[in-house]
Amino acid sequence: MRVALLGGVYNNYLALEAACEDARARGCAKIYCLGDLGAFGPHPDKVFPILQEYGVECVQGNYDNSVGNNREDCQCGYTDPTDNHYAHLSYQYTLANTSPDNRRYLASLRSEIRFTVDNRRVLLCHGSPRRVNEFMWESTSPTHLLERFCDDYDADIIAVTHTGLHWQRALSDGRWFVNVGCIGRPANDGATHVWYTILDTAQPEPVTFVPLAYDHERLAQEMEAERIPSEFIETIRTGYWTTCLEILPAKERKRGIC
């Protein structure tokens, strides 16, 4: 079975719509989102009708848990003061602009989704199987830990998001760990497109990363109209992260320019 896995949306409803259309066109039977519907972008409420229209099933991310339960902060897990400063700005905006109905929906989401197809047990979660806001970076996630996750959490394929950067690793016995990246902001590589993931459980190598162009200039203009901080808008236009990047490990940080 072929399914689409979308990472953090971060209020980027234009990329969400483009991803859902693209996934349909590529024959995906189902679309899943791995959580964090809100964050940097404009108009949080515009995300929800699209999820409904395409029947997207969502995992609850830390952001969704926070907005859904009206918590003080986004529980992103940043520890650098500058990262926290920007995270707070986007969280305050998202919290203030998400309707009570949509907050109830966010609060109702599950922390993981499981299914078994083609004899493979698939686990979708947000940060890691053990922690909603654990950062699974490619360069700081040891293979032995990923193997252990598959053993401990009874899965052959584990998919996560939370960091915003996509990567995958083949494990023993045909098992896979994949970070699906995010569709909310570009991948800190100087390109304006975002990435989502197609999982084809019938294939021995089941993961394909799909670059997705969308109307990023329109998003940037809407962010400006909403008076969202210029640093967030710059990322949409340049493809490079300008905020919340102290969290990056050395190898991932080197790929950007800030």
Partner: protein, 312 residues
């Protein structure tokens, strides 16, 4: 060796002692090695374990000593490895140790930067390039000019450390400048701006920082650099508190004499919890004032990329 005679408050009051918080190991995310022992080419005024050229309380560790712990940590699902001292680059085996580590996971070295030669910088860059994992170098500097840094870290250390940082940057690495906050909150922005300018001047235009709180321990305590901390962590304080912010919930420290609860407390005999990692997953009583500093600041030892680990 530092003086450990000062009473911690709970020792004098049995009623209070029952309320001292206890924290066990939830998961071994970070494994630390005192790879340089307590030997250092500097003798900083504020060192929390009083490292110096003469302090050999803890010895340097060999790859042969470290390897069994690397193996054991893999079984326990460790995520990151950290190497500190003393000065790790005084250890002749450091590059072999890092190579063995980077074969299984990400590594971070905490250094004073003063003996990072061109050859060492090249070797570090090579080791990182050959691994799928990150190699982080955290270089300590405690002022953005010679007088303010050398006052704490010793004459000549500013120039040498800056040379070390320059060499790492020339090799394409992104060292993390680490400073102990020996200044007031009011001065914080000015200090950060000063550090940024200093690094920009040597061509490091996208600097990374880790500012850590001063710890009222070791030389810092003896030299009375800041106010004494006398609080400790009680059970009540941990109610609704994210315990994962405490190092002891996710880390252990290996020295040549065994496994300790955390990297901060190794001078205290009661910090040694056993010989193997498996034997040290139990609870530790947060009876020390440094535990209180850790409680207040949170995640003070690990890299930012480890992130916070708060649970819902």
């Amino acid at each position: 060796m530092s003086d450990r005679t000062r009473n911690t408050p709970e020792m004098s009051q049995s009623a209070a002692s029952r309320r001292v918080a206890k924290v066990g190991l939830d998961s071994l995310d970070n494994l630390w090695f005192q790879v340089g022992g307590t030997l250092c080419n500097l003798a900083c005024e504020h060192c929390f374990i009083s490292c110096s050229p003469q302090n050999d309380k803890f010895k340097m560790m060999s790859l042969a000593q470290i390897q069994p712990y690397l193996d054991e940590a893999v079984v326990l699902g460790v995520k990151e490895f950290y190497f500190t001292g003393g000065e790790p680059f005084l250890n002749d085996e450091i590059f072999d140790i890092l190579e063995a580590t980077l074969a299984i996971g990400p590594a971070t070295v905490l250094t004073n930067g003063t003996i990072i030669t061109n050859r060492r910088a090249r070797e570090l860059a090579r080791l990182e390039a050959n691994s799928i994992y990150s190699l982080e170098i955290r270089v300590s500097l405690d002022g953005f000019d010679e007088p303010s840094n050398d006052r704490l870290r010793g004459k000549g250390s500013f120039k040498l450390a800056l040379n070390g940082i320059t060499r790492l940057v020339e090799q394409g690495m992104l060292p993390i400048l680490t400073a102990v906050q020996t200044w007031s909150e009011a001065e914080h922005e000015r200090m950060l701006a000063g550090f940024k300018q200093l690094l920009a001047d040597i061509g490091y235009t996208r600097p990374r920082f880790k500012i850590i709180p001063a710890l009222d321990l070791g030389a810092y305590q003896q030299n009375k650099i800041g106010p004494a901390v006398t609080e400790y962590v009680t059970e009540e304080m941990l109610e609704d508190f994210d315990r994962s912010q405490l190092i002891c919930s996710n880390s252990r420290m290996v020295t040549n004499s065994g496994v300790h609860v955390c990297p901060i407390l190794i001078d205290y005999p009661d910090s040694r919890m056993g010989e193997s990692l498996k034997a040290t997953t139990g609870e530790y009583r947060l009876r020390h004032p440094a535990c209180y500093t850790c409680y207040l600041s949170g995640a003070i030892c690990s890299n930012f990329s480890s992130g916070g680990q708060s649970e819902r």
